[in-house]
């Protein structure tokens, strides 16, 4: 079993754990955390697939893209948190509306 395969598999597991939590949890901060874990899983698959042979060095192109990805996921987190704080200020909620009756008026 090669390390690349091991890390690819783990990336997929991290992604699915994150996706599950994103769907199941209600608190917005938990959803943001879950999306971050999903992102980390994707990055791991990406980098692991760029490892070729026994060189032990990852391909520079996926590395550069993941670097960009980390910054973009930080942007996502920052905007999502401010949106959540704004929603909380306007409605007093820390979750999204769960059904018709509880929608924001």
């Amino acid at each position: 079993m090669s390390p690349a395969l091991l890390y690819t598999g783990s990336g997929i597991i991290l992604f699915s754990i994150g996706l599950h939590a994103l769907l199941v949890h209600r608190h917005l901060l938990r959803k943001i955390l879950a999306a971050n874990i999903m992102g980390s899983g994707v990055f791991m698959v990406f980098i692991a697939m760029g490892v070729h042979g026994d060189s032990g060095v990852a391909d520079p192109v996926p590395q550069a893209m993941v670097l960009t990805g980390i910054v973009v996921s930080l942007c996502f987190t920052a905007v999502a948190i401010v949106l959540a704080v704004r929603l909380n200020k306007l409605t007093g909620c820390t979750t999204l509306a769960v059904d018709e009756e509880s929608s924001i008026d």
Binding site: I17, L33, H52, L74, V82, R86, T94, S102
Partner: protein, 328 residues
């Protein structure tokens, strides 16, 4: 079984367990702290995969700045689940939908990836060789920096745009509120800041310089600088009001603007976006990295503070509405 492989296994099991624990934990503060630990361990995984640049960025941005963002957000949101109206109980099928979706989707993705990986590994050697061949004309001596600032510089250009857009959305949503109570600064922390700030500035410069021939570069350096700015804010430093207007905005936008100017100039002179003239490549990359570092540092710190500077600069900020940053 190799020793290294055992280490990988332990690391990955810890990572997955941490991810599971933090997402399942009942206390959100605990979840955020575990997330920071997760980020630091993930940096170790990047080192194991031979990607030290990503490891540096993960530790500084993924764990550090994101952790600060989450802690500030938690302080403002509170950890209780507040919702309006009645909450309907989920039906059995609704409960089942998430596991079914994941159960169908994940195995299919894994299968595709596995097939791809088995074909891919033998067929193509990757872009490592190509990058090494082109390194001589790239204006830098480190593969990842060459890809970021030269070969795929449009990615970096757009990413600077995303960062600026994110801050514009943050500023348009809210006014900045102080991160803590003013009368609450520990003298110990002030002493630490005095000691650390000069060191952080030197380290940021070193990391930026290092990016020319070894792992490092504008992102990592900018993240270290922004951590320094946040430390300064935490010990009570505020930007003078006369600097909160145009000067601050110029600093935030300079990275993206200079990048755009260079992109336009290269498009006009060579018909290709961001194709630098060979003789100028090194200096152009240095210029772009310098302005990018300054902008990234300011943008990240501003994103953690969250919200635009007060509209009426003559009025003092209302300190009473300070959030409670750390809760135990």
């Amino acid at each position: 079984m190799e020793l290294a492989l055992i280490f990988d296994l332990i690391l990955l099991i810890t990572l997955i367990a941490l991810a599971w624990l933090l997402l399942a934990s009942s206390d959100i503060f605990r979840a955020v702290v575990l997330f920071i630990a997760f980020g630091l361990l993930l940096a170790l995984a990047w080192v194991r995969l031979g990607a030290p640049d990503v490891a540096l960025a993960e530790a500084a941005i993924g764990a550090g700045i994101t952790g600060a963002l989450l802690l500030v957000g938690l302080g403002r949101l509170g950890s209780a689940e507040h919702y309006r109206g009645t909450r309907t109980r989920l039906t059995f099928l609704q409960r089942l939908s998430a596991p079914v979706l994941i159960g169908v989707m994940i195995p299919s993705i894994s299968l595709i990836l596995l097939l791809e990986l088995s074909l891919h590994a033998s067929a193509t050697p990757g872009q490592q060789g190509l990058v090494n061949v082109l390194l001589d004309v790239s204006g830098t001596n480190h593969g990842v920096t060459a890809v970021l600032m030269n070969f795929r510089a449009w990615d970096t250009l757009l990413e600077k745009g995303v960062l600026l857009l994110a801050l514009i959305s943050i500023w348009s949503l809210d006014q900045a509120r102080p991160l803590f109570r003013q009368n609450d600064i520990s003298p110990q922390l002030t002493g630490l800041a005095r000691l650390l700030l000069p060191i952080m500035i030197i380290v940021a410069g070193f990391v930026l310089w290092q990016g020319d021939h070894a792992p490092g570069g504008a992102f990592q350096s900018g993240a270290i600088l922004s951590a320094g700015i946040l430390l300064a804010i935490l010990v009570g430093y505020t930007l003078p009001t006369r600097r909160q207007g145009l000067s601050l905005r110029l600093l935030l936008a300079v990275g993206f603007s200079v990048f755009l100017l260079v992109a336009a100039a290269t498009l006009l002179s060579s018909d290709y976006l961001l194709k630098y003239p060979d003789s100028l490549a090194g200096s152009l990359i240095l210029l772009l990295e310098l302005v990018a570092t300054a902008s990234i540092a300011a943008l990240l710190a501003a994103a953690v503070v969250g919200g635009h500077p007060p509209d009426d600069l003559s009025k003092p900020v209302d300190r009473s509405s300070a959030v409670n940053g750390g809760q135990t």
